[in-house]
Symmetry: C2
Subunit: 148 residues, 2 copies
Amino acid sequence: MEFRKNQSAGYLLNHLARIFARGLSARIKPLGLTTGTFPALLELWETDGLTQKQLVERLDIEQATMANTLSRMERDGLISRRKDESDGRVQRVWLSERARALRAPAISAALAENEDALSGLSAVEQQQFVALMQKVIETSSGAVDGER
Amino acid sequence: MEFRKNQSAGYLLNHLARIFARGLSARIKPLGLTTGTFPALLELWETDGLTQKQLVERLDIEQATMANTLSRMERDGLISRRKDESDGRVQRVWLSERARALRAPAISAALAENEDALSGLSAVEQQQFVALMQKVIETSSGAVDGER
DNA sequence: AGCACTTGTATAGCAAGCTATGCAATGCTA
DNA sequence: TAGCATTGCATAGCTTGCTATACAAGTGCT
């Protein structure tokens, strides 16, 4: 049985994701942010007032995880959740002033982490890498419509 | 501030790692295995009797996580941990017969998941993708000596 | 209108990741 | 040899991911 962990995409992806997450976590910790809040914040910075369901769909994250993440974010003063006016089941998520103020430093941290972690690749290789990842995501069953 | 999540390596890696983990998890569940046990099993299938510390180093996983994972594996009858003969602090990890018997089906599952998830890439692109990931790992501060 | 079905969200539980801490064993130095 | 520093591992706690379940609100059908 021929199996080499460093030839396995699944193994390498898990390892890389952990490396990046550690790096990002260290950079955003001084901002009082954690990695799990980041994707949600990215969406909300673009469009405030999204429903939890919209976040779930856009980010391909399970509903229960999102509910828990949003609870923590509300606990930490990043968001508030308010019931939608026309549908009593729906919660809309609104950013706090604090969260809005964190946009620039948080994004700087993420860009710096990406730059740092990819510094061993040439500019062309970096583009290739990103393009290949995009393609795998688009062609996998986990694809989220309109991911861009 | 120009930030697009689908241009961010960190974001894409987190997403891909989750997609692969979901797929692998579903495939190894019937074997009674979970994704976190997989890397440790891979190492132990190659070399039985490794210490926890060796596993931690080889896999770039934090000691506490490894201790907990090994506890669960022992609970599930996959391994046993025994004190080293010459150093009272050291625990050596030994595979059970059950774990040995799971090697072939588990590796088949992983190979199938990789093949499936990467099916949208050509053979050349797949090689490129793996090579790029290897390179990022090797050049990052998370590199593990002799990873192969 | 009443009921069955669907939808959106919260909660419980487990795994897997990390940081922090504690304790026993070992190694080093005066 | 004794004291201190270091090492290996277990445990606590939190976050982040998933599956499963429960409940209320909403929708659609008869």
